[in-house]
Symmetry: C2
Subunit: 323 residues, 2 copies
C-alpha cells in the first residue's frame, strides 16, 4: 500500500566537524522517501525550482520513488538551507534559509497521490499540512512532523493538524514546548487526549493514538494509550552528518507500518516499526546527506536490526535481594 | 561479599518545581549505600560533623548498612549542599556548598572496611580516591564516580585513579569532557585503553574494563571490550527530585555485581546489573532525597525489573523489504 509524503525538497549546504558539502540533495520529503522506499512505493509531493537537477530526481527514481507530483516552478529557486554543526553534533546553527518556491506553495495532489492509504506530513506550515490531510480523508494511517518555529508562530493550527492525524513524531524538546509539560510522559498523554472537532472534514472524535519522541543520539520513545517503549540509538563510533536523521527515522517508521496493511496498529507492530526507524536513521548519519542511504541494501538493514535487538536485551534471571 | 563505599555524607537543601526540603539526609555515600543494601552489606566510610543526627545514621542502620566507619569530627560541620532544579529537572544550580568536615578529610578505613571485596569510590577528590583504592589492593571489583570539577582541576590524578579501577561510572557529558572526544563510543574506548603504570600499588597492566555512561532521563549505556548495551530510564509520569539518582544508580549496579561473586564479570551479568541500577534510580527520583528508597521493598524492585524488560523488547519478526 503506497505512501504519500508532502514536504521540502531542498539543497543543503552543510558543515560538520568532519567535512562539508555544497548544495547537496536534501529536504524532509527526500530523506523520508528514500528511507520509506525500502518498504513501499512512495509518492513525493513538493515544489522545486528551475535549478533542480534531473540527477537529483534520479536519486529518488532509482529507489522506486514516484516523483510525478514533484512540481517544477518556472523561474523559481529550490528551497535552500545552510547550517553548521558543533563539535558534538548535538547543536546546530542555521546560517541561511531561502524558501524559494516554498513561498506561496499550494500542494496539488494527483489522483494517485490522493489514493495512498498512508500519508506523512513532513515539517511544513501546519495550514498546508491540514490542506493535504483533507485531500486524503480515508487514509488508514497519517503521521505528522513539525518544529519549534510552528509551535511559536502557528500553534493553534498545529494543534488542529495534530488532532486530525494518527501519529505525531516530534523531538522530545518540541513535545515539551508544544504542551508546556516538562515531563515526557505527561506531554505525550496531553497530545493523545486531543481530538478532532465535529467540524473536522476527517471525522470528529478521532485523534492521535501514537506519539513518538525523537531524542537524537539517545534514541526514541513511543507512547500510546497501551504503553511505553524506548530504544537507544544504534551506537556508532563515527557520525558524520545528522542532517535528515529525523526524516529518515520517520521514513523507516511510517514505511514499516505501510508495509503491514493487514496488521492492527498494535504496540507490537509499532515497536518493530521503531526498530526499523532507528536502524534507517543510523545509516543516514554515517555520511553526508543522502549518500549512505542511496546505496543501502535490505540485507544491511536486516543485519543491523539484529544487532539493535542484541544491544537492548537483558536476561530475566531472578535476583537475590537481602530485604 | 560486602561492599565498602567512600564518599560524602551530607545535608541537602533542595528546591524543585514540586517542593522543597531543608537539610535532608543526602550525600553520594548515603544514596549509594541505601541502594546497594538491597544486595549486600555496605560499609560506609566518610566524615560527619557534630550536627549530624543519630536519626540519620538510623536510616542507614535500618537497611543493614554498617556505619561504624562514619567518623564524627568534634567541632566540625557536616558537608552541606543547597541547590535548585529548573522546570524540566534537567538543569540544576548549586547555590551553596559548605565542605565542612570534608575539608582536610583523610579516609581511615577499619580492618573490616579494608576486607570488602567490592569498593565504590564515590565522587571525591581523586587523590583521596587513590588513597582508599590503595588500602584495598585485592578487591575483586572497584568502581569510581567523579565530576566535572575534578576533570577541570585534577585531571592527571583522576586519570591515574581511573587506571586503577575496574569500572568507571560517569555522566556522558563528563566522559566527553574527560577524553576530549565528542563521540560516546570513542570516549569510552579511550578510557578502556588506560592502564595502570608499573609503579601502581594495585598491579601494573590492569585498567578499567567497564565504562558506564549515565544519561539522566534518557537512561544509561554500558561499554566494554566485548560490546555495547543501553537502557532507557524507567518512564515516570512524576519525577520529584533527581538528587542522588546517579549514586543510587551506582548502588544498584555495584550492589548487583557484589551479590554475584561467583559469576565472571561478563556482559550478561553487567546488563542485569544495569537493569537493577536503572530501577533503583527510578525509585529514588519519585520523592525527595532518600524518602522513597527508605521504604522500598525487594518485591517492588522485582516488579519494576519485569516492567523495564517489557518496555525495551521488540520482536524479531522478519521484514519484507522491497529492495
Amino acid at each position: 500500500m503506497s505512501i504519500t509524503v508532502v514536504g521540502s525538497i531542498a539543497y543543503d549546504t552543510v558543515k560538520t566537524p568532519f567535512g562539508a558539502r555544497e548544495r547537496m540533495l536534501g529536504g524532509a520529503a527526500v530523506h523520508f522517501a528514500l528511507a520509506a522506499s525500502f518498504f513501499e512505493e512512495v509518492r513525493v509531493v513538493g515544489p522545486v525550482g528551475e535549478d533542480f537537477g534531473e540527477a537529483e530526481l534520479d536519486v529518488m527514481r532509482r529507489r522506486g520513488v514516484d516523483v510525478s507530483d514533484v512540481e517544477r516552478v518556472d523561474g523559481g529557486r529550490t528551497f535552500f538551507w545552510r547550517g553548521e554543526y558543533g563539535w558534538d553534533l548535538n547543536s546546530r546553527e542555521t546560517l541561511d534559509t531561502q524558501l524559494g518556491v516554498f513561498e506561496g506553495f499550494q500542494p496539488k495532489l494527483s489522483q494517485l497521490s490522493r489514493s495512498s492509504d498512508v500519508l506523512f506530513l513532513a515539517n511544513i506550515q501546519p495550514d498546508l499540512q491540514r490542506e493535504v490531510r483533507a485531500q486524503l480523508p480515508h487514509a488508514r494511517f497519517v503521521a505528522l512532523d513539525s518544529m519549534n518555529l510552528w509551535i511559536d508562530t502557528a500553534r493553534d493550527s498545529l494543534v488542529s493538524a495534530i488532532a486530525d492525524v494518527d501519529c505525531v513524531i516530534l523531538n522530545d524538546a518540541e513535545l515539551r514546548q508544544l504542551t508546556g509539560r516538562p515531563n515526557l510522559l505527561a506531554a505525550a498523554r496531553d497530545v493523545l487526549s486531543w481530538v478532532a472537532p465535529a467540524s473536522s472534514p476527517n471525522g470528529a472524535g478521532r485523534g492521535p493514538s501514537v506519539v513518538v519522541a525523537k531524542q537524537g543520539e539517545y534514541g526514541a520513545a513511543l507512547i500510546t494509550e497501551e504503553g511505553f517503549f524506548a530504544l537507544p540509538a544504534y551506537p556508532l563510533e563515527t557520525v558524520i552528518d545528522p542532517t535528515g536523521a529525523g526524516d529518515t527515522f520517520a521514513g523507516g517508521l511510517v514505511g514499516y507500518i505501510a508495509a503491514h496493511p493487514r496488521e492492527e496498529l498494535s504496540d507490537e507492530l509499532l515497536r518493530r516499526a521503531m526498530a526499523h526507524a532507528t536502524v534507517l536513521a543510523s545509516f543516514n548519519v554515517e555520511e553526508f546527506g543522502t549518500e549512505r542511504v542511496e546505496r543501502l541494501t535490505g540485507a544491511e538493514i536486516v543485519t543491523r536490526i539484529g544487532e539493535l535487538r542484541s544491544i537492548t536485551q537483558f536476561s530475566g534471571t531472578p535476583v537475590r535481594l537481602r530485604h
